[in-house]
């Protein structure tokens, strides 16, 4: 039942925040902070007892499960379940949720209640996406997280927010519809094969169909996730959405929405159509590498700070895509680590950009420069997260990127070498960003005040997470290990019959040699 609470609390919190909007602005903020904080505590509790309550469900590492009928007629069930992978991402959601509420404490002035309503409902939608095991329910949550996000950008955004919000909505909605078509295609293919009409993920896993149809359905899923992931050709909504979104919106957008795309790939696109995914993987890896280089070069060229950070996300997500389609143990673990660390470090960079915008009312890099002398703490934090985004060893992103590259090297050497050159350009853009914002000649007019206690606490917390994952990633690795083994096995392109046997996967493995 705890899973239902995980989703229900932000929903009610958001509603409550909106209702309490009558009073002063502080009430909704505290309500939504409380709601998301409870969620974070719940997630931590789940993480504490993760190892013992292993494999509640057949076929692997699910350890908490809620199942009840929703529309039995069509075979749609309200089926939530959590394994190591979704646990990590749910914790990331709650963590960044707290950060986004905290960072918009002073930034959002008008209609605060409605703002927090949208924020909470997006978070609930995202958590739903990570937990849903019923494809219909998954699509429901996929749409649920989209609409409030649109309002977040459209109502509280910056200059041409309408253009950005509409573009974001159309991109995601259109690709979502493709996914819906693919879900239905799979639904009917499964029905034709086994006569059972169901949307349940575990049953749908084994459907075998002719390769062409499988490839078509897989592409349906893939397009939706590649738009969300922003893979190379479908990424152009991201810079606009990021530039115009309010700080909290950017944090949620960069930190979480991009992960739903990656999670979708890991959970649905590849395991459901293993052979098609295998055939498609060279193209996908090429797209990934193109994304890495393209995102990096464009990040280097931007004049707007948030737009620059947005393009870095395109580049980092290229690594995740590379990891997913390399589909071996190393690459997948790398992709998971990269997802978590990218969420935290890019979230922090956006909070910083938001703080800077609040102080000097502009995101133009031309106006910044020499801010270190005025705000040394902000400079140090900016430098730290700039280094995190270029993959400095000792920080989390390095672990993610290198595990992906180690894994991808086994699959294709050429792709990995090109991706590694991406690291050099990554160095270029992040140092260039730090140079233009913090170093250089000191200016007189924008004298930003340094980070306050609240902001510094948030930043310290995030820095701690990045360094902790950088130096001791085993906690995160062991959590996601069980889930990834199940995924790899279910997509191991093995004969369907063999997959049906319930391989009892010990949820927690021993703590390594």
């Amino acid at each position: 039942m705890i899973l239902v609470w995980l989703i229900a609390i932000p929903l009610t919190g958001g509603l409550l925040a909106w209702l309490l909007d009558r009073g002063d602005d502080r009430l909704p903020r505290w309500v939504s902070l409380a709601a998301i904080a409870i969620d974070f505590v719940l997630a931590l509790v789940l993480w504490m007892q993760y190892p013992e309550k292993a494999n509640v469900l057949p076929g692997g590492a699910w350890f908490v499960e809620v199942r009840s009928a929703w529309i039995p007629g069509l075979g749609i069930g309200f089926h939530l379940a959590m394994d190591g992978l979704s646990l990590l991402l749910v914790m990331l959601t709650a963590f960044l949720g707290i950060m986004s509420v905290a960072c918009s404490w002073t930034e959002i002035r008008e209609r605060v209640g409605f703002f927090h309503f949208n924020l909470m409902w997006t978070l609930a939608g995202i958590m739903g996406v990570f937990l849903a095991l019923d494809l219909f329910l998954f699509y429901f949550f996929w749409e649920l997280m989209l609409v409030p996000m649109y309002f977040l950008i459209a109502l509280w955004g910056h200059e041409n927010r309408i253009y950005a919000a509409v573009k974001f909505f159309i991109f995601t909605q259109l690709s979502g519809l493709l996914m819906l078509a693919a879900i239905l295609g799979l639904y009917f293919a499964h029905a034709r094969e086994t006569g059972v009409y169901t949307f349940d993920y575990l049953e749908l896993l084994g459907t075998s169909m002719d390769p062409a149809k499988a490839m078509a359905l897989m592409l349906g899923f893939l397009v939706a996730f590649l738009v969300k992931l922003p893979a190379f050709p479908l990424h152009t909504w991201l810079p606009d959405a990021h530039t115009e979104a309010p700080t909290a919106g950017s944090v949620i957008l960069a930190g979480l929405l991009l992960k739903t795309g990656a999670y979708g790939l890991l959970r649905f696109a590849v395991p459901l159509f293993p052979q098609a995914a295998l055939d498609f993987s060279p193209v996908a890896m090429a797209l990934a590498v193109a994304g890495i280089l393209y995102g990096a070069v464009l990040a280097f060229a931007q004049k707007d700070l948030k737009r620059l950070v947005a393009y870095t996300s395109v580049s980092h997500m290229g690594f995740v895509l590379l990891g997913v389609f390399a589909w071996n143990e190393l690459a997948l673990q790398g992709a998971v680590i990269q997802m978590v660390c990218h969420g935290v470090s890019t979230g922090a960079l956006f909070i910083l950009a938001g703080a800077l915008q609040e102080r000097i009312h502009s995101r133009d890099l031309g106006l910044m420069g020499g801010l270190w002398s005025a705000a040394p703490r902000m400079g140090a934090v900016g430098m730290f997260f700039g280094l995190a985004s270029l993959g400095l060893p000792g920080l989390g992103n390095f672990i993610g990127e290198f595990l992906v590259l180690f894994g991808a090297y086994k699959v294709s050497v050429v792709m990995t070498v090109i991706a590694t050159t991406g690291l050099v350009i990554a160095t270029a853009y992040s140092l260039w960003m730090v140079q233009r914002v913090f170093f250089g000649a000191r200016r007189e007019e924008p004298r930003p005040s340094d980070l306050g206690v609240r902001e510094m606490a948030m930043m310290a917390f995030m820095m701690a997470v990045i360094v902790w994952i950088g130096l001791y990633p085993r906690m995160v690795l062991s959590t996601s290990e069980g889930a990834l083994n199940t995924l790899r096995q279910s997509a191991g392109v093995s004969a369907p019959s063999e997959r049906m046997s319930h391989t009892a996967m010990p949820g927690a493995n021993d703590d390594g040699k």
Binding site: G394, T420, V424
Partner: protein, 631 residues
């Protein structure tokens, strides 16, 4: 003592953490105490570890201390583990001891600079990373230290961030070294995939079993690691960043760009010597690159006006010697030269720092002169350093180490007369530009009053390093002069001994006479050209070819110009023209066409009833037509 091994790198990191978090609140005294103190204590620890290591050598010739498993993903299990053997002991001792001296010097040199705590935080971070690099037990941890030192060199070069030029020099350094690191990373991937492990000792055993000599994989792995080494040690073709790195404070140049970081590449090649032995073409390449670099850097150093840039090019040249030694298989000679070079080059930089301080941040040698009497201690220590750099015979450490390298480049198995000749020419060039520097700064008429004299705290390191750059050489007396190869015996417990062709002792003696004659000749030439008849040099430079040569050498053989044209400008150009993402045009195009068709269709709504009737009729006709055709 074994269990305290992890403290050696941990202390500087702790120093960094304390200074980073509380630095702003501490007074300068406190910051200095923590900054220099942490490195000092780890130096003491290193010495203690050294003593117990030498007195009671452990069975396998090495200590290993594993703190925790860093990443645990099925076969990929690198650990945070430190590995101490003869080679890493020498490196640790040099890094901590010279590091401590430079920290001491910096406490006074940087006094009343507004980023004082930030400076020492970065310096401690650097020493910590360097020690992690040197003591790393597996290549991934080594890579962590590798990037850590690269980061600190970026932070410290760009320390005075107010001047954007320093910022761009810092970025240039980090990006150029990062190119090397990318190559090294690919090397790591290759090694892991083929050998299944990153632990250095396992790699050595597995490589020699699985890879035959000269096999493609061995060559690829060695070449990629060489790529990383070239980047970090500023050898051809990635050497352009070091001269610009002089934008940082002088103690930084002394510590990072002379003594420790730039020799990381030498350490890497020495540590993974088995790979290079398995790949003869790559080892030959190392020798050739070393020889070429030492010549190029030598010529460039001749024409520099800034005292620190002369020393920078001299560093590139001396590391070229180490690469030459590695290339010909004289592993211990390379490490020995690393040690002596660390001493006298750090001394020269600190001396230059004292001079610059005295001259109120004047870097141009031609505006200094006659400081002999003004700064006596600095002068004498600087002279000893220069002597050691240009390897004046018998009395200086530089003589023993450089002579050893020249001898092995002649006598060793894969040495060759050409390499030896290049080395010799390099030695001549070295002594010319060194003593040109000495005469220009310390002799001749005084042009500017000497301002701030170096205080006591600055002179202690100068004197200590001067002593070391003299007695340092006696640790390795060649056969002809006392035959006490203490150093190489110690280091050869780890590194393979040199395969000399068994030349007669007399040949070695003759060789030593030739090298010492060459270095003295260099001094005399420098004396002639730059002290007595300066006009002659101006005349030479005035000729057309002279001017062209001067411009070429001054700009570091125009590598910067070539790289700028070939790589940097195109990258900027691509970035600029594609600033707003041509892929976006595709989607905007879709939106535009959408609007266009909307316009076209709205014309049909003309408001006239009869048109609509016509439309309905047309529709019926078509539908009936279809029905007719189909039935």
């Amino acid at each position: 003592m074994r269990t305290l091994l992890w403290l050696i790198p941990a202390l500087p990191f702790a120093g960094f953490f304390v200074l980073a978090v509380f630095g702003a609140r501490l007074r300068e005294k406190g910051v200095a105490a923590i900054g220099a103190g942490s490195v000092g204590v780890s130096a003491v620890l290193a010495i203690l570890a050294g003593i117990s290591f030498i007195t009671s050598p452990p069975p396998g010739g090495s200590w290993t201390q594993t703190l925790w498993t860093w990443i645990g993903v099925d076969g990929f299990r690198p650990a945070i583990a430190f590995y101490l053997d003869a080679l890493s002991l020498v490196m640790t001792l040099v890094v901590t001891f010279v590091g401590f001296l430079i920290h001491l010097y910096a406490t006074e040199f940087m006094s009343d600079d507004e980023g004082y705590s930030r400076f020492f935080a970065y310096m401690n971070l650097f020493v910590g990373s360097m020690l992690t690099l040197v003591l790393a037990d597996n290549l991934l941890l080594l890579y962590l230290g590798w990037e850590g030192v690269g980061l600190c060199s970026y932070l410290l070069i760009g320390f005075w961030y107010k001047d954007p030029a320093n910022g761009s020099a810092a970025m240039k350094a980090f990006i150029v070294t990062r190119i090397g690191d990318a190559a090294m990373a690919v090397g790591l991937f290759l090694i892991f995939m083929n050998l299944g492990t990153l632990n250095i000792q396992e790699i050595m055993q597995k490589a020699s079993h699985t890879w035959p000599r000269g096999s493609g994989l061995a060559v690829a792995a060695a070449a990629l690691l060489l790529g990383g080494a070239l980047g970090k040690s500023a050898q051809l073709p990635l050497q352009t960043w070091l001269p610009d790195a002089m934008a940082g404070p002088t103690p930084v140049s002394a510590l990072i760009h002379a003594a420790t970081m730039v020799t990381a590449g030498v350490y890497l090649i020495a540590r993974t010597n088995v790979l290079f032995l398995l790949a003869p073409p790559v080892q030959a390449a190392v020798a050739i690159i070393g020889a070429a670099t030492l010549l190029l850097a030598g010529f460039s150093a001749l024409t520099q006006r800034d005292i620190k840039r002369v020393l920078a090019y001299s560093t590139i040249s001396q590391i070229g010697y180490m690469f030459l030694a590695l290339g010909v298989g004289a592993w211990s000679a390379a490490i020995f030269h690393f040690m002596t070079h660390a001493f006298f080059k750090a001394l020269l930089f600190l001396g230059a720092g004292a001079v610059i301080l005295a001259m109120e941040h004047e870097h141009d040698m031609f505006r200094m002169g006659g400081l002999r009497k003004e700064l006596p201690v600095t002068f004498w220590t600087f002279l000893i350093g220069s002597a050691s750099l240009s390897a004046l015979p018998l009395v200086t450490a530089g003589f023993y180490s450089k002579d050893l390298i020249l001898w092995y480049s002649w006598s060793s198995e894969n040495g060759s007369p050409w390499l030896w000749a290049a080395g010799l020419a390099g030695a001549l060039l070295t002594s010319i530009y060194t003593f040109r520097m000495v005469f220009l700064t310390f002799f001749g008429e005084r042009k500017k009053e000497a301002g701030r004299r170096p205080g006591r705290v600055m002179t202690i390191p100068l004197v200590a390093l001067a002593v070391l750059s003299v007695i340092g050489g006696f640790a390795e007396l060649p056969r002809t002069l006392g035959n006490m190869p203490v150093f190489s015996e110690f280091v050869n417990t780890v590194l393979p001994p040199v395969k000399a062709a068994g030349e007669a002792q007399s040949a070695e003696a003759a060789m030593q006479v030739v090298t010492s004659f060459v270095s003295l000749a260099g001094v005399y030439v420098a004396y002639l050209l730059f002290l007595r008849k300066r006009r002659y040099v101006e005349g030479l430079a005035a000729t057309r070819t002279g001017r062209a040569l001067h411009r070429l050498w001054f700009s570091g053989w125009a590598f910067d110009w070539v790289y700028d044209r070939a790589l940097v400008q195109p990258f900027f150009w691509i970035a600029r023209i594609n600033r707003d993402d041509f892929v976006d045009l595709f989607y905007d195009g879709i939106a535009w066409y959408n609007g266009f068709f909307h316009g076209a269709l709205s014309l049909t709504q003309s408001g006239k009833v009869r048109w609509y009737a016509m439309g309905i009729a047309l529709g019926t006709v078509i539908m009936v037509g279809i029905a007719v055709v189909l039935l």
